[in-house]
């Protein structure tokens, strides 16, 4: 626990009003979007300036407590779940768009700006910020940069890192570093920018971000293709790729996901459909018409029973919103949804989906799978109930096999959610040792005292973050401690 003298110093830095440590507040910051794991921070601070954040890091190094940065808390790998002996640094109130530069097509933003709000703001002046995570309505741009978020448009437009030109960041030491600028080319030294992007809050705290914008595509067309089986949907994806068409979006949903989404969105989808594909093509009007016609034809020849084209922008938005609701909608089937994001090369999509379904059957668990078919980024989602410990255990075992298979197929354990707490073990096990070692060395060098979001991505031992509740044994142990609420929450 953080001592009273340290709390007093925190109050001195942030002001009493922006220092929170009531049990109610600590409970409210004990979780993020990640299932099952929770753990309370000792206190929460709301910064008003870069200097205060800098001061916080100095104090953390002196007094040896952990700092856990947090935006909206929508992460899915436990990146913003507090560790032991920690202070949550709340960035969601830094929500200003500082500058929109229409001459350079760039924007300076604060890290707490909500992604969807930023998208609408730039779209209103004919510009486009493509990264579009499923949680865009609530997630923050700072969180997106920290996680190198992907989303629905990864295939054609890339992910967050492709749109970050620079930033201001507070390092674990408390120093303030600035990287990049409005240049489209910049090779001055090592590409440290990409080391910090996707560092999951372990190497620095973003305080100001410079983003690249592109002109808004002139037109787009969105369509839905319905299939009897996932196999035909996967075949369609391969055929579209082979035809040299690059859609802005190719999303797929399996039957359980279709049922859940329909139950929430009431779009009139046939709930007996085996799988569906949501495809969007965009660009100049004539090219869009051509691509859309070609995609529709490929869908039909690959076995689609029906292809429905959205009649207008409003319907297209509805379809995309429905797709984005998939994860939470699956909770209608079972309350706890353990979502992973194993990713494979596009050509292995069908193999991977098949393996996921077999593995689910083998471990007797329910699974709903959806995801970004176009870029091979799958979201197999275990449908379970956190109160059923045996089933949670079976789900974890199934995912272990799924991760191994993904890596075996030349894929990765996480396409966009990050390693965080939940996949740290697999990072160490399934990746080559120089790769993992270089990450550890980097963390050690930038944050020698392990004060910034310790225990996430890689773990350094000995370390100050203490036990993090993830392995089955740890969960069981903490479950037993439930009578003593100050110790752990699950």
């Amino acid at each position: 626990m953080i001592g009273d003298n340290v709390k007093k110093k925190l109050k001195d830095i942030f002001g009493a009003k922006n220092f929170l440590d009531s049990t109610e507040h600590r409970i409210a910051y004990s979780y993020d979007g990640t299932p099952v794991i929770t753990s309370m921070p000792d206190s929460i601070v709301i910064p008003a300036s870069v200097n205060q954040i800098s001061g916080l890091m100095h104090l953390a190094n002196e007094e040896k407590f952990a700092v856990v940065p947090r935006g909206s808390g929508s992460g899915l790998s436990g990146g913003s779940i507090p560790s032991e002996n920690s202070v949550v640094l709340l960035m969601n109130q830094w929500d200003k768009v500082i500058e929109l530069d229409e001459n350079n097509l760039t924007a300076w933003v604060e890290p707490g700006v909500i992604t969807a709000k930023f998208q609408s703001k730039v779209e209103a002046i004919g510009l486009f910020y493509p990264p579009d995570p499923g949680s865009a309505q609530i997630c923050t741009l700072g969180g997106n940069v920290a996680e190198n978020a992907g989303g629905l448009r990864g295939l054609k437009y890339g992910v967050t890192k492709n749109y970050v030109l620079g930033f201001e960041v507070v390092l674990p030491s408390g120093e303030v570093m600035r990287i990049g600028g409005k240049n489209m080319k910049d090779v001055a030294g090592y590409n440290l920018k990409d080391v910090l992007i996707g560092s999951e809050g372990t190497l620095g705290i973003f305080t100001k971000i410079l983003l690249k914008l592109i002109p808004m595509p002139a037109s787009s067309k969105t369509m839905l293709a319905f299939y009897d089986s996932i196999g035909s949907a996967a075949e369609t994806v391969s055929a579209i790729t082979a035809a040299r068409i690059l859609p802005a979006m190719m999303e797929f949903l399996d039957n359980p996901t279709i049922r859940a989404v329909e139950s929430f969105s009431r779009l009139g989808l046939d709930v007996n459909t085996g799988a569906l594909l949501l495809v969007e093509v965009d660009g100049p009007r004539s090219a869009v018409e051509e691509d859309a016609a070609a995609v529709e034809k490929i869908c039909r020849t690959s076995g689609a029973n029906e292809v429905r084209v959205a009649k207008d922008e409003a319907e297209a938005m509805k379809l995309k919103a429905a797709r984005k609701s998939a994860l939470a909608a699956l909770a209608r089937i079972r309350p706890t949804t353990i979502l992973e994001d194993a990713t494979v090369p596009r050509s292995e999509l069908a193999t991977m989906v098949d393996f996921i379904n077999k593995t689910a059957k083998k471990h007797d668990i329910q699974m709903g799978t959806f995801g970004h078919a176009g870029d091979g980024n799958l979201h197999p989602t275990g449908l379970t109930d956190e109160r059923d410990h045996a089933e949670i255990e079976r789900t974890e075992r199934a995912f272990e096999e799924i991760f191994r298979k993904a890596v075996e197929l030349g894929g990765t354990i996480t396409g966009e959610h990050g390693v965080g707490l939940t996949k740290r073990k697999f990072l160490e096990e399934l990746y080559n040792s120089p790769f993992v070692q270089m990450m550890k060395t980097t963390k050690q060098m930038i944050d020698p005292n392990g004060v910034l979001n310790p225990g996430k991505v890689v773990s350094l031992t000995p370390r100050c973050e203490g036990a993090l509740p993830r392995s089955r044994e740890q969960i069981e142990r903490i479950m037993q401690k439930m009578d003593n609420p100050s110790e752990a929450y699950i």
């Binding site: 929170l20 009531s22 049990t23 109610e24 507040h25 409970i27 409210a28 910051y29 004990s30 979780y31 993020d32 979007g33 299932p35 909206s72 808390g73 929508s74 709340l90 969601n92 109130q93 909500i114 969807a116 949680s135 309505q137 609530i138 859940a260 989404v261 139950s263 929430f264 609701s325 998939a326 994860l327 939470a328 909608a329 909770a331 209608r332 309350p335 706890t336 949804t337 109930d385 956190e386 109160r387 439930m482 609420p485 929450y489």
Partner: protein, 419 residues
């Protein structure tokens, strides 16, 4: 001790999609003022990990119960039910006297007491006492003065007293509908009740006002009183059944939403469970009913810029949104304007604007800003609370805008052709 269902609590998988639509989270930016934060606090209270602390009570009361989060929640969390149970849980543990509970259980739900209170208020307004009182109040408490000044006028006559128990249409009878005259609606907006009857009759419906009807119970149900609503529900079921009506048409969003829940409220009642279910199936919001059964289009339309404000208990609680909007669009034609954040709570939220005046005012300011930016001169909304709240804001800011119920709009167009 009535526990909050663990199944309902566990249904929340804390994805956070509720954050972007929650007005209280928007005000504070703090997680505990968000739906998923409150659910997490409830879970901890129910598991006995934290006591029913002041902070917990504050957070449950700070919530507007607008249920915008339910509309946004893909997982189907029944948040309204959760927060209402939590409030009952809190009230059952409250020691000492609560003015709010007294007013709700002893005045509002008793027709005679409510009338007495309203008559006193009417006398206060008409006799000149109000002017004197406001004059005295002004130098002492600007806040109270502002609040008192903005109260909507008490109706001259209660519709329940003056409207006939049965009104027949002129030509062919399409069927029989029963209406609820309500408490807030009849005290402040008796005219809306009269308009409702006129419009229904005009469209060929025989309108019955069940004489044994009582308050729907929503204000109690939303404010931590779990005992009164089932009693009121049973009385209303009996009264409305006697009317023999095909539909129960409700012109107040809050009442309609609650009466649609009678089936759930009395699900465990041996005598009433089945009757309550049937009752709820017959309940229709005024606009929902007109849209579904069809209505005579007036020969003229609203001739000023018009917006539609979506009452929380229509759009979120009853999921009735397209129907009233379509009607307003039909009646205003090219004068229709889109209202930004139309589905955001105006701060009325039952009696929230009385119990939490400051918070409600912030939401009202936001609503008024959006209304002003739309350049509308008419705001149509289907709930007396919203009419009062937005009406107060308009009055306070001296705006040239009218807040009207859809029934009033239609009746004026039928009668004078002008709105």
């Amino acid at each position: 001790m009535k526990a909050i269902s663990d199944d309902l609590l566990t249904q929340c998988m804390h994805c956070g999609l509720c954050l972007s639509v929650c007005p209280t989270y928007e005000l504070t930016g703090l997680e505990r003022s968000s739906p998923r934060g409150r659910i997490r606090l409830m879970k901890n209270v129910m598991e006995g990990k934290i006591p029913v602390s002041d902070a917990f009570v504050e957070e449950m009361e700070f919530c507007l119960d607008c249920q915008a989060c339910e509309t946004a929640c893909p997982a189907g969390v029944k948040y309204g039910e959760l927060v209402e149970s939590a409030r009952v849980f809190v009230e059952e543990r409250r020691k000492g006297f609560s003015l709010k509970q007294f007013v709700l259980t002893k005045i509002v739900v008793r027709k005679r007491s409510l009338r007495l209170a309203a008559n006193v208020m009417r006398f206060y307004e008409k006799s000149g006492v109000e002017k004197v009182a406001l004059g005295i109040l002004k130098p002492f408490s600007r806040r109270l003065y502002n609040r008192a000044k903005l109260l909507p006028r008490i109706s001259n006559q209660f519709a329940f007293d003056v409207l006939p128990a049965v009104t027949d249409p002129k030509g062919e009878v399409r069927g029989t509908v029963a209406i609820l005259t309500g408490c807030v609606m009849d005290v402040f907006y008796a005219d809306v009740n009269k308009d409702t009857v006129d419009v229904l009759v005009e469209n060929g419906w025989r309108v019955v006002i069940p004489q044994g009807q009582v308050c729907c119970g929503s204000l109690n149900g939303h404010n931590g009183d779990g005992k009164t609503p089932p009693i009121l529900a049973r009385k209303n079921i009996e009264a409305f059944e006697k009317s023999g009506a095909d539909y129960y048409v409700i012109n107040s969003a809050g009442c309609g939403a609650f009466m649609k829940q009678y089936g759930e409220i009395l699900a465990d009642d041996k005598v009433f469970a089945e009757r309550a279910k049937k009752f709820s199936e017959k309940v229709k919001d005024f606009s929902e009913f007109l849209y579904e059964t069809g209505y005579r289009k007036p020969s003229t339309g609203i001739d000023r810029p018009t917006v539609y404000h979506e009452a929380c208990h229509l759009v979120h609680a009853q999921k009735v949104s397209e129907q009233p909007k379509a009607i307003v669009k039909q009646l205003s034609g090219e004068n229709f304007r889109e209202l930004n954040e139309a589905t955001w709570c105006c701060g009325s939220a039952g009696i929230y604007n009385v119990t939490r005046y400051e918070d409600a005012s912030k939401l009202l300011d936001r609503k008024l800003k959006n209304i002003r930016e739309s350049n509308a001169e008419v705001v149509v909304t289907g709930n007396p609370g919203c009419l009062a709240q937005i009406g107060a804001g308009i009055k306070n800011d001296g705006l040239n805008i009218e807040a009207l119920h859809p029934a009033t709009v239609l009746n004026r167009l039928y009668k004078s052709g002008k709105v």
